[in-house]
């Protein structure tokens, strides 16, 4: 479980973009909705321990992450993977990208490649595995970043707008894959697409101007919110 307690965060000075956030990301899928600039990306990056909050606590499995020493931090970080909203790929081939996280975790190349093939098959990207990343379309890039994260099989999965730029059938595919993991993992998805994601959500958070305006079960989400945000 990831617990955010009284989180305040600002990029510059006292300009808070997250204001006193309290949430638990628990097993299942938490969908984070909210207008542009409401703080979804910032929230997910705090929850993935990439940003240190100005105030407040980030608890991963009941441990306060920012109090850990460097070695323990790495151990905890390896339980969590965040997928950027803007797909960032490394130089080299698609395969190189997908195996990166496994290689630095000490997997052998062969093992890593085997896992990479498996996830690529699921995401339907085996045909581009040997392509150089500069040549990919934006949707392909997105799928590669998803494969690179999913292959790590982490307990925590934080996806920032994972289905943007995807064709409806591919979107369906990604949603299905995420759904299939919902019983074992803690998953959070920030999205502007409530229609595709609410059906798999266990919990919905609505952010506005850095504050949580609503946390509820998806079936309790009032139509008005979906229409408004």
């Amino acid at each position: 479980m990831i617990v955010l307690r009284n989180i305040w965060f600002s990029y510059v000075d006292e300009n808070y973009v997250l204001k006193n956030i309290n949430i638990e990301f628990s097993r299942g899928i938490t969908v984070v909705l909210g207008p542009n600039g409401s703080g979804k990306t910032t929230l997910l990056k705090i929850a993935s321990c990439l940003y240190k909050p100005i105030r407040g606590e980030v608890l991963i499995d009941d441990i306060n992450y920012w109090n850990l020493n460097e070695e323990e931090k790495i151990r905890f970080r390896r339980k969590i993977v965040y997928v950027h909203e803007k797909p960032i790929l490394l130089r080299g081939s698609v395969l190189d990208n997908i195996i990166y996280g496994l290689i630095i975790r000490g997997y052998s190349r062969d093992e890593a490649i085997k896992k990479a093939h498996k996830i690529s098959k699921e995401l339907n990207i085996t045909s581009i595995l040997s392509r150089r990343t500069e040549t990919l379309s934006i949707g392909e890039r997105r799928l590669v970043t998803l494969a690179r994260a999913l292959v790590l099989d982490t307990d925590y999965l934080l996806l920032d707008d994972p289905i943007a730029h995807l064709h409806p059938s591919t979107r369906e595919l990604v949603v299905d894959i995420v759904r299939s993991m919902k019983d074992e993992k803690v998953i959070a998805i920030a999205t502007h697409d409530p229609l595709s994601t609410l059906k798999i959500a266990s919990k919905v958070i609505i952010l506005d101007s850095g504050r949580i305006v609503n946390i509820s079960e998806p079936r309790n989400i009032i139509d008005k919110y979906i229409l408004e945000y």
Partner: protein
């Protein structure tokens, strides 16, 4: 004459490329560290280096001379008037330029790749490695530009190198000497050679930059 010109050319290339490498050796970890600071002091530090790019070469030469002269604090090393002091001097001279250029390259890389590396499970060392791998060709361009500044400077080479024939004489000091002697032909040949070296270095940098 030509064997001497050849020797000067070779020596210049060797001294300045070593100086560039040396400057990179401390500038890369320093800039990487600087990038990761999340504090206003970062802007101040990089501002200082930006300003120091314009440091007069004779000033660096003078300071080094005082340090390495036989009565200076580092005089016991007996490095004055050797190629080694030119290397040290040029590397110090170009360090502000190297750091300023690297800073641009690294901050772009840091904003994207650092976070990426961390979330994919990298430790700090692995994250630095990833960033460096992503920016290696940019670093190469930075070194070419810095090298051309090093090979073209006169102050340091003259003051701490001493322009000793066959030992510390490089392009710029040789040209200055030949002009002083009135040997314009040799000066022009040397000048053209230096020009060709610098031009090809800059062109290479441009080509690499466009490819990336």
């Amino acid at each position: 004459m030509y064997t001497e010109i050849y020797g000067i050319a070779l020596r210049s290339l060797l001294i300045s490329s070593t100086a560039t490498l040396l400057a990179l050796v401390w500038s890369i970890p320093f800039t990487a560290k600087l990038i990761s600071i999340r504090h206003r002091s970062k802007d101040i530090i990089i501002g200082i280096f930006n300003t120091l790019i314009g440091l007069p070469t004779v000033l660096v030469g003078l300071v080094l001379y005082l340090l390495f002269s036989y009565s200076g604090p580092l005089g016991f090393l007996e490095l004055l008037y050797t190629p080694y002091t030119i290397i040290i001097g040029e590397s110090i001279l170009i360090t502000p330029l190297v750091i300023s250029l690297l800073y641009e390259v690294f901050s772009r890389a840091y904003n994207e790749y650092w976070e990426l590396a961390l979330t994919l499970g990298a430790d700090k060392l692995q994250a630095y490695k990833l960033i460096i791998r992503e920016v290696i060709s940019d670093i190469f361009v930075v070194s070419l530009i810095s090298f051309s500044r090093a090979i073209g400077e006169l102050g340091v080479a003259l003051i701490v190198g001493g322009n000793i024939k066959g030992y510390t004489r490089v392009f710029t000091t040789a040209i200055a000497l030949e002009i002083e002697k009135g040997e314009f032909e040799t000066a022009i040949i040397l000048g053209l050679l230096l020009f060709i070296v610098v031009l090809s270095v800059i062109l290479t940098a441009r080509i690499i930059k466009r490819r990336v």
